[in-house]
């Protein structure tokens, strides 16, 4: 029946071409939108994971709250309404017992690696220029195991911070603000009254201006000293073997301690919401296009079947079983879906290549090109969606055609 189906399609070139293009267009749009979305997403994921990794363990800030103070001064039965509620901060954010975390994480088979960090705010200055910065103290050898920071190094290496010695890797934006370059020294201060000189040994550029303007990395020991908090760990970033385990792990670990344990999805809840909205938009747009293409297939086959009743009658009287009539029309829909799907993924791929080749005036991640994903799952999804739309759209009229009996048709033809 494939042969007959093919011949029938060829005899209606315009209609066939129109539907073919409809299916192709739907498939192509999905690939272009998904390619760009997933490309941007993996860029953003990388940016986020550089900051939070899979699981982020942070200390709780020691804030003084009304609930804790009231029972210390009044009995339980008394109703207390503070005119000026107690307010204040007992301590800065720090992990209560970092060593127990190190022991636990080292023993966990799901953990690839972990890296303790201390992030503080401060100010960098060089001669008359100064700028606000975020200083992150890291253990270089550990940090490069769980993030791809090394890939963003424009000069020097993360490992240049090993061993301490008041060395810094500085964001390109910070260098610009200060008019400094690698090899020169700048002064850091945390607002505690003392300026300390640090030598710039590397330049990093994350491709995000907001980050590059404040990012400064140093050895954790140097930063602890600068902050006058020896031994303090602000947070531990953890990389897991399987990123999908992050939520489950974070929930389990949070039972062990008062520290905050967040999976990267929780830490970036807004970002995850945005991704969900993107997904919905992509599916709605593509679904609408494929629906239109599907209706096209449905309408054309329905019209064709009503025009081809005489031929159906003769085929049935010759001995073509209802299943073969179903095949005749189903194959046409499936061929349109298959051909349209193939053309669509080819066009989508070519358009994505073109989009990626455009040189932008801004830096996105490591390059100045649009990040485009060529993940095979995008192409499989697009192709499968085209096939499913075509199969449903052609099955319904094909089934109706297969149920026609030759005599019904002949009688209606005879009037």
């Amino acid at each position: 029946m494939l042969y007959l189906a093919f011949r029938q399609m060829l005899s209606r070139k315009k209609q066939t071409a129109l539907i073919f293009l409809g299916v192709s267009f739907g498939t192509m749009i999905y690939i272009v939108i998904a390619g760009l979305q997933f490309g941007f997403r993996s860029y953003l994921y990388e940016q986020l994971l550089n900051n939070t990794s899979h699981v982020l363990i942070t200390g709780k800030e020691g804030n003084i709250v009304e609930k804790e103070i009231t029972p210390r001064f009044f009995s339980e039965n008394e109703y207390v309404r503070w005119v000026i509620p107690p307010q204040g901060k007992r301590s800065e954010s720090k992990l209560e017992n970092p060593q127990s975390w190190f022991d636990r994480l080292s023993a966990d088979p799901d953990v690839v690696s972990y890296a303790p960090r201390l992030t503080i705010s401060g100010m960098a200055s060089k001669s008359r220029h100064r700028t606000n910065i975020n200083i992150t103290g890291i253990i270089p050898a550990r940090q490069i195991k769980i993030t791809s920071l090394e890939d963003y190094m424009k000069e020097g290496s993360i490992l240049d911070l090993s061993g301490g010695g008041n060395k810094l890797i500085v964001g390109s934006g910070v260098l610009k603000e200060l008019g400094a370059k690698v090899g020169e020294s700048i002064n850091l201060s945390t607002g505690l009254g003392e300026n300390r000189p640090f030598k710039i040994v590397g330049k990093i550029e994350m491709g995000n201006e907001q980050i590059d303007k404040v990012m400064v990395l140093g050895n954790i020991r140097d930063i602890q000293t600068l902050n006058r908090t020896p031994g303090r760990i602000g947070e531990i970033t953890v990389a897991l073997i399987d990123i999908d385990l992050s939520k489950e792990k974070a929930e389990r670990w949070s039972i062990y301690s008062n520290d905050n344990v967040e999976s990267w999805e929780e830490a970036n809840a807004q970002f995850m919401q945005m991704i969900t909205i993107q997904d919905i938009m992509r599916l709605v747009i593509t679904g609408a296009i494929l629906l239109v293409a599907g209706f096209g297939i449905y309408n054309i086959l329905t019209i064709m079947i009503s025009q081809k009743q005489k031929e159906i009658a003769i085929l049935r009287s010759i001995g073509y079983a209802p299943d073969k009539i179903l095949e005749l029309f189903l194959f046409q829909g499936l061929m349109l879906g298959f051909g349209g799907g193939l053309l669509g993924i080819s066009l989508g791929f070519i358009i994505n290549l073109f989009m990626e080749s455009i040189e932008l005036s801004m830096q996105i991640g490591k390059s100045n090109h649009l990040p485009v994903s060529y993940d095979i799952s995008i192409y499989i999804t697009a192709f499968a969606a085209a096939q499913i739309a075509a199969a449903i759209a052609s099955y319904l009229p094909a089934r109706a055609a297969s149920k026609l009996t030759p005599l019904e048709i002949i009688r209606s033809e005879m009037g």
Partner: protein, 226 residues
Amino acid sequence: MSIVGKQIIKSFGDPAVEILHGLDLVIHDGEFVSISGRSGSGKSTLLYILSTLDKPTTGEIEIDGLNPYELGNNELHEYRNRSVGFIFQFHYLLPELTALENVLLGPRNLGLQEEYRQRAIELMEEFEIGDQIHKYPSQMSGGQQQRVAIARALIMKPRYIFADEPTGNLDSITGLKVMKFLQKINKEDGTAIVLVTHEPDYASMAEREIYLIDGRISSREHDAHA
């Protein structure tokens, strides 16, 4: 070897209107039978019942002693494919296929189109449309199209040909030609032909004529050999 109809009653609609009133008849192998009568007398209805395209409301059809409606779907389609050929008033050729491809539709259903290709060409040459084999129906005259339809009905060497007004849409010269073809097939190949026609001249070209009046076989039924 025959098709036997026993007490065939066929009614349509609600309330039921009886079109055929308890007909008994036999179509023998190799016979040329015409069924004629006025419009509405039930001749096409009888043809479709004998050919298994339609079921009687009551009564039975036996083909070689078997009730076709007790056969499985596959056997019934196989029977229609191999043993029966249909010729309709309208040729019902598939417009997207050439004349030769139309003739080979039956064998194609069984995957035998290559084996039957030579026979199809011979049949078409015999019907004087050998030069039309690669033409599409729209490029042929009505008479040529009907001859393609006859070749299509004959390609599988069926035992029975059921023809419903095959000349109804043709001019008298072409119509006569078609009738001569049917006679030739009947004589030379021994194919039984059941022909529905309202043309008395064509009806009388059959060996046996069944004349229907209001769904009953009239006493005018005669055997040409008698």
